[in-house]
C-alpha cells in the first residue's frame, strides 16, 4: 500500500442546467485543461486515466472512446468505471488503487455528465424499464392508486419512503428537511461551481414549495446539471516533487446492498432508511484510516444528498452523530460553515447534480477544505481530516473516502 495525494483539481467553469454552447467532449476538455492549470502538470506527466459517467444519461456507449482525444489520453491506459450515482467516487477509488498498487505514479480521473442531452427521468427509469413493462403486464398501477406494487411517491418514488422512515426513527420533522435544504442552497451561493444558488434561502421559503409526496417537497430535490470534474492523483514520492501542500487519501471503502431480485414488488430486507451499506463502508473506512472516534477526529463532511433529508440521515448512518441527533446539530447551527461539524458547505448534491461528477465532487470539495482553497465557502474551523460520502444504484451503493492534511503513517 502506498500513500496517494490529490495534486490537482479542475472543474468546468460552471455547472448549469444546459450547456448549449459545447458538445460533450468539448465540455469535458474544459475541466481537463483546468486540472492541468491547477496542478502545473502536462499530459506527459500522466501515467493513466480513469473515466466515469452514467452513459445512458447521454446515450453514448463507452464515451471515453469519443473523448479520448480531448482528455490527453492517447497512448495511455484508460479505465472506464460506471456504478450509478456513486460513479464519481468509484472512479476516484480506481485512480487511488492505480497508484496504491505501485503500478502508476500520476493518474488523472475524469468524470462528467451532460444531463441536458437526455431526459434524466428516462435515464433513471432506464434502470428498471423491462421490469416496469413486465409488471404492467402483471397489473401494476404506476400511478400508485391501487394494487400490489403500487409504488406511489410521484417523481420522488421510493425516496419518499426513505425520508418518511428517517423522520420517524430520528424524531426530526419536515421542517428540519426544509432547514437543511435552505442551508445548502445558501452554501451553494458561495460556491462558483454550484448550480442552484439562493443566498436568501430560508426554511420558510423552502416550506412554500409544493409537496411531491410526503415528506418530499420540490425544494428538497436536486437539479439536473451539466458539468465535468477532473482530479489528478499522485504517489507520495511524486507529490513531494509536485506540490507544497496536498490532500492525502487515508482510506477508501465501499459497500453494496441489493436492489430487488429483478421485480418491483419485493424490497430489500432492511428499512430503506437503514442504509446498512453506509454503516458497513464507514466502519471499514474508519478502521483503514485508524480513526477510533469519527465524531472527534473528522472535521468536515460532504454527504451525497440527491434529496435534502439524506444529509441528516447519512450523518447518523456513518456515525458522525447518534441516531436522532443530526437535526439537533442542525438546530444549533453546528452544521453551518461556522459550526462545529460543517457539512456540505459546497451546497451538496441537492444544489448541483451532474451525476457522474456528484460523488467525485464530494471528494474534491473535501480536498479544497483541507487545502484551505474553498474560497468563499471555506469553513471557519481548521480541517485536518474530512470524509466524503457517495450514494447510488437503486438506493444500495455507498462509497466513502477519508482525506487528511498529511500523509498517513504506513
Amino acid at each position: 500500500m502506498r500513500n496517494v495525494a490529490i495534486v490537482g483539481i479542475g472543474y468546468t467553469p460552471v455547472f448549469v442546467s444546459k450547456r448549449r454552447d459545447v458538445c460533450i467532449p468539448e465540455m469535458i476538455s474544459e475541466a481537463v485543461e483546468n486540472a492541468f492549470k491547477d496542478s502545473g502538470l502536462t499530459p506527459a506527466d500522466i501515467d493513466a486515466v480513469v473515466f466515469g459517467n452514467m452513459q445512458t444519461f447521454e446515450g453514448v456507449n463507452l464515451p471515453h472512446l469519443w473523448s479520448a482525444d480531448y482528455i490527453a489520453s492517447l497512448g495511455k491506459p484508460v479505465m472506464r468505471i460506471a456504478t450509478g450515482g456513486t460513479t464519481g467516487m468509484s472512479a476516484f477509488h480506481a485512480g487511488y488503487y492505480h497508484i496504491a498498487s505501485g503500478l502508476h505514479d500520476v493518474v488523472m480521473v475524469v468524470t462528467y455528465e451532460k444531463q441536458s442531452e437526455g431526459d434524466s427521468q428516462v435515464g433513471l427509469m432506464g434502470i428498471i424499464t423491462p421490469e416496469i413493462m413486465a409488471m404492467l403486464a402483471a397489473g401494476i398501477d404506476v400511478t400508485g392508486q391501487k394494487g400490489m406494487g403500487a409504488i406511489g411517491g410521484g417523481s420522488a418514488g421510493g425516496i419518499s419512503y426513505q425520508a418518511s422512515s428517517y423522520l420517524h426513527h430520528s424524531g426530526a420533522g419536515i421542517e428540519h428537511i426544509d432547514a437543511i435544504a435552505a442551508m445548502e442552497r445558501r452554501n451553494a451561493a458561495k460556491n462558483p461551481y454550484a448550480h442552484l444558488k439562493d443566498p436568501e434561502a430560508t426554511a420558510e421559503k423552502i416550506a412554500q414549495t409544493p409537496l411531491i409526496s410526503w415528506p418530499i417537497r420540490f425544494g428538497h430535490v436536486c437539479p439536473t446539471s451539466d458539468g465535468a470534474t477532473v482530479c489528478i492523483l499522485a504517489s507520495e514520492e511524486k507529490a513531494a516533487k509536485l506540490v507544497d501542500k496536498a490532500a492525502w487519501v487515508w482510506a477508501v471503502a465501499n459497500c453494496a446492498s441489493d436492489a430487488t431480485t429483478g421485480n418491483l414488488i419485493e424490497g430489500i430486507i432492511t428499512d430503506p432508511a437503514e442504509q446498512m451499506p453506509a454503516q458497513i463502508a464507514a466502519r471499514q473506512a474508519y478502521e483503514r484510516a485508524g480513526i477510533e472516534d469519527p465524531k472527534k477526529e473528522i472535521d468536515y463532511v460532504e454527504i451525497y444528498n440527491g434529496f435534502a433529508h439524506q444529509t441528516l440521515m447519512f450523518l447518523e448512518r456513518i456515525g458522525m452523530c447518534e441516531v436522532g441527533e443530526a437535526h439537533k446539530l442542525l438546530e444549533k447551527g453546528e452544521l453551518e460553515m461556522s459550526g462545529r461539524l460543517p457539512v456540505n458547505s459546497s451546497g451538496g448534491v441537492v444544489s448541483t447534480n451532474a451525476i457522474g461528477t456528484s460523488a467525485m465532487n464530494r471528494v474534491t470539495e473535501c480536498a479544497l477544505q483541507i487545502l484551505g482553497r474553498a474560497g468563499e465557502h471555506q469553513v471557519e474551523k481548521e480541517v485536518h481530516k474530512a470524509l466524503a460520502h457517495g450514494w447510488g444504484g437503486l438506493m444500495q451503493y455507498v462509497t466513502i473516502t477519508i482525506l487528511a492534511d498529511k500523509p498517513k503513517k504506513l
Partner: protein, 381 residues
C-alpha cells in the same frame, strides 16, 4: 511482475442463446465457482463487474446482479469495458494490499437479447457519424481489413484461412458458441458477403456468454488451489477515435499495451518465450494484425505462418487455440473468456484444444471501432 497475483478458478459459459436471465447466469457462474473452490461468498473480498448498459438495455446494468453474485452487503465495483479490463482492476486492487481476493463477473447476453452491432453504433459520435449513418462496426472493420491486406499484399484468401482455423478450433471446444465442424476456407469464402472483403464467417457471431473468475494474492492463492496461474504482466493503451486518422493496417495501441505487459513480465523475445495467444479478434483480419502488433508474428509473413501450420493448435505459435471470438463474442465478457481459455491451456486442461506444454500465454482484449483501445495480459505458471 513477480508471482504476486494468481487466477485461482473460473466458470464460463457461452451459446448462441443461453435461455436464461442475467441474474440466473450470474448466480450459476459464481455459485459454481465457489463450489469448485470450496468457499462461500465471504471469501471474496471484492467483486468487479463487467457489464454494459447498452447491451443490457438498462441504466446501471449491474444493479440487480450484486445479490446473485454474492456481493450482498459487500464490496463491489464495475468496469464498463471489455472484461479483461475488469480483471486488470481486480489485479490492481489485490496489488494495493487492501484485498487478498477479487472476483470478476463478466456478462454479455448479446445473442438472445439484443442486436450486437448496435453496441458499436452507440459508440460513434452522435454529432457526426450517427448523423451521417455511413459508419458502422462492419463497414469500419472492412476498411481495416482492406488496409491490412493491402499493406502487405496479402490476398483475400488469408481471411478465409484465418477464419477456417479459428472455426475448426471452436468446433472442438465445448465452451464455444459457434460450431462448424470441419470448417474449411472454401466454406468461409462462400458465406454471404457483408462489406467487402468481409463475409459472414469472417465476422464474430452474436453470442450469449459470461465468466466468473477469482483472483488472489500469492499467499491466499496457495490456500485456494494447487494450480495457480500467475498474472505476470499487463498493459493497456488507446488511440485516436477518428478512423480517418488511424493507421488501420497496424494496431499501435496493441503494440504499446504489449510492450508494457512484456516489460512487466520480463519478456524480451515474445516469439520465443510465449507458448500461445488468445486474441480478441472480432473479424478474421484482426487475428494476424493483432498478432503482429503483439510481436508474435513477423510483419508481412502472416500468409506463410497460417499456411505452414505455425498458428494451428499444434504449431509453434498457436493463435486462438480455443477458436477465439469468431467462435463466440459475448461482448463485455470476451476478454475474460479469452483469459479463461489461456488458463485452461496453462493448466493443461484444454482437452482437444490443448497446445501441448504451455508455460506462458498472452491474452488480448479490445474496445471501440476497429480495436481503438487494447489490453494485454501475460499469464504464466
Amino acid at each position: 511482475m513477480d508471482k504476486k497475483v494468481a487466477i485461482v478458478g473460473f466458470r464460463m459459459k457461452s451459446a448462441p442463446d443461453l435461455v436464461t436471465t442475467r441474474e440466473r447466469l450470474t448466480f450459476e457462474l459464481t455459485r459454481g465457482l465457489f463450489d469448485d473452490l470450496g468457499i462461500d461468498r465471504t471469501a471474496v473480498d471484492t467483486t468487479i463487474f463487467s457489464t454494459n448498459d447498452f447491451l443490457d438495455g438498462r441504466t446501471i446494468s449491474n444493479v440487480f446482479l450484486d445479490g446473485p453474485a454474492g456481493a450482498y452487503m459487500r464490496d463491489e465495483s464495475k468496469v464498463e469495458m471489455d472484461g479483461i479490463n475488469a480483471l486488470m482492476y481486480a489485479v490492481i486492487r489485490i496489488l494495493s494490499g487492501q484485498y487478498s481476493t477479487a472476483m470478476v463477473v463478466a456478462l454479455g447476453l448479446t445473442g438472445s437479447q439484443v442486436s450486437p452491432y448496435l453496441h458499436v453504433e452507440y459508440q460513434l459520435s452522435p454529432v457526426y457519424d450517427r448523423q451521417m449513418r455511413l459508419l458502422n462496426e462492419l463497414s469500419a472493420a472492412a476498411f481495416q481489413a482492406r488496409s491490412y491486406l493491402a499493406r502487405y499484399g496479402y490476398s483475400e484468401k488469408l481471411l478465409d484461412e484465418v477464419a477456417a482455423q479459428a472455426l475448426s478450433n471452436a468446433a472442438a471446444n465445448p465452451n464455444q458458441a459457434r460450431k462448424i465442424p470441419g470448417a474449411s476456407a472454401e466454406q468461409v469464402a462462400s458465406s454471404s458477403p457483408y462489406y467487402e472483403p468481409l463475409r459472414e464467417l469472417h465476422c464474430y457471431p452474436p453470442t450469449d456468454g459470461g465468466c466468473a473468475m477469482l483472483l488472489a494474492s500469492a499467499e491466499r492463492a496457495k490456500e485456494l488451489t494447487d494450480k495457480p496461474v500467475w498474472v505476470l504482466g499487463m498493459g493497456q493503451s488507446i488511440e485516436t477515435f477518428y478512423l480517418g486518422e488511424r493507421d488501420l493496417a497496424k494496431s499501435p495501441s496493441t503494440a504499446q499495451a504489449a510492450q508494457r505487459a512484456y516489460e512487466m513480465a520480463g519478456i524480451r523475445d515474445p516469439k520465443a518465450e510465449i507458448d500461445l495467444a488468445e486474441i480478441s479478434a472480432l473479424f478474421a483480419h484482426q487475428e494476424p494484425l493483432l498478432a503482429e502488433a503483439l510481436g508474435l508474428l513477423e510483419e508481412g509473413k502472416a500468409e506463410e505462418a497460417y499456411r505452414s501450420g505455425d498458428t494451428a493448435i499444434s504449431g509453434k505459435m498457436p493463435l486462438n487455440p480455443s477458436g477465439g471470438a469468431l467462435g463466440g463474442h459475448p461482448i463485455s465478457a470476451t476478454g475474460i473468456i479469452r483469459t479463461a481459455e489461456a488458463v485452461r491451456q496453462l493448466r493443461g486442461e484444454a482437452g482437444d484444444n490443448q497446445v501441448g506444454k504451455a508455460e506462458v500465454a498472452v491474452v488480448h482484449g479490445q474496445d471501440g471501432p476497429c480495436a481503438q483501445q487494447n489490453a494485454v495480459l501475460v499469464l504464466g505458471i
